[in-house]
Amino acid sequence: MFMRRVVPFAVALGGAAAITALIALIQAYAKVGGLSALYLLLVLWIGARWGRWPAVAASIAAFLLYDFFFVPPVGTFSVAGPSELLELFVLLVVALVTSQLASSLRRTQATAEAMASQSTALYELATAALRSPEAAMALSLVCERASIIEGVKRFAVTSPSGERLAGSALISDEAAQAARAYQTGVAVGVSVSGGTLKVVRTQPHRAAASYLPMVGGVTVIEFAETSPDAEDLRMLAALVGLAGLLLDRRRAAVEAERARGLEASDRLKAAILSSVSHELKSPIASLRAALTALASPEAGLAAEQQDLARDMDRQATRLDHMVGDMLALSRLEAGVELHREPLAYADMVGTALRQLRTELQGHEVVVDATDDLPPVEVDEMQVGRLLANLLENATEWATAGGGITIGARAHEDRLESWVENDGPPIPPADLDRIFDTFYTRRARGTGLGLAICKRVIEAHGGTIRAENMRRGPRFTFTLPLARVAAAPSA
């Protein structure tokens, strides 16, 4: 250190002396003017090599030596004429200016080199970090790099909950502090702005860590007594930025993992429900077969006993429908794949009416649809279930022997259809809740039928609503029309 400081000045003084000797040597042979310019070369070189102060030393030395040996009166430090004075002055000014220029050039170059090496290091680190499949591994690379910076004692990255993901171990309540910083979003002891970090020391002598909350976690840094220099602070800011990027990536990966987990659990749920429904339906099947056998007159039971058997069979049938509805709803919620095809809507209505023949007996059903309805592009089974549910609901509410209307009209890209009955209006407060799962107006309802309708319509990208018309409640829904032009029009 000492040598490095002394050498430039020694060279400056030695150089000035050597040039003085050279000038004396030249002047011994020929009277040449303006030889003082030789000093300029030295000053220029010293300034470029070692900066300002050695150059100033060289120029002063040159000035004094030149004055002493060559400026009349020779042998003294006095100056005779104004031309010599000017010469000396120029020497000094040139020395100062060139050394200034040279040293600023040197500083710029040094900064550029440092920045280049910094960005190369960062680039290599970022490449390595972003390539490593594990976010935690990539983060530990960043932490390693950050902790070798002078003025940084510890550097760690935590999850939003303060759990350490990479870097130095956390001590005492740092995990809790990090979690708090994440929750409040307020940095403690450090701030980032303009591409660099700023260390904020509130209590200079307390060794406390700084917390910097980011998108997917928190960076915890403990600085040494002396803060890192400006260059290192910039590097640190870049590393913190990289850590932020990696945390964000980790968060995205964690979310994707959770989504996969949810999807798997949805599938599992559907599989379990399918299996449970199967297990529930088998005993119901035996019950219904036995009860209907008992209820037949040939079984020889008294009329009262036959009625009891029929009552039990009705309850078993209800149970069967509930199990079926639960399964259908859970499948829809798990996101069943729709098997969409172009279908004639009137055909589907016909199938639904046929399916509910027994329930519809005693009701007057009107189909209000034109002959030239374009085909819809829907899942036959799902929309069949929807129609059956809405018609069944209508039979529950329509007056005895009353009318049920099922209508349809085509609009630009969708079919609007409705099922209406002449029963009592739906209380206005219930209009919004009527499609909620387990919401029912009937003492015996499962609260699943209309929820299933809503899911079916939504799966087809349509809408469904309930409203009270003059005659009675009406359910209106939309279905997508088929994109094919030439389709069956029955």
Binding site: I284, S296, D347, M348
Partner: protein, 227 residues
Amino acid sequence: MSGGRVLVVDDEVEMQRALRAGLKYHGFDVRTAGSGEEALRESSSWRPDVVLLDLGLPGMDGFETLASMRPATRAAIIVVSVMPGEKDKVRALDAGADDYVVKPFGTEELVARIRAVLRRQADISSGEPVVRSGDLEIDLARRTVTVKGRPVRLTPTEYELLRYLALHAGKPVTHTTLLREVWGDYAIGDSYNTRYVVAQIRKKLGDDPANPRYIVSEPGVGYRLEP
């Protein structure tokens, strides 16, 4: 007098007992089998008229039993299943089942189905060339179709489809079977073709798709001509 012989194939003893009783009350002779192997033995020795075959059998499953039984018996086979997917129904029908019934069911519903397949078998063996469905008459010998006595002009494709449904009146016929039977083994197409032709036939017969009298849609499966 016996209404016919019914072989019940189901692995649940309670179901066997309930069906044996229920079908007996409706005049059928009933035997039961708890497995596919037993069902095959019974069907060849006892020669039932109808086999009720549950698809969910342990060991040799329903589809295997169906495949082995179909070529060896003239009995009508009604497939029974808890929550069959549409694919299962189509597969069973294409493998030669005459009908399917979804569990749980009541005895009356089952008896109606059994009587329907028995009636159909009797019609087919009688060799009657005219098939009737309400006002619709299809004369298979003379290749004519009339509604209330008025002739209906069908294209060859339309007639072939209607003829196939008439030959299997009352039985659900799958889209794939119709495609194969009407358009040939190398037919390329899907249910869209059959839907289109059925729509045309319905129009010509004056059948309302929202309330069909003759050709009934079997959702997810195909079509059936009402007997």
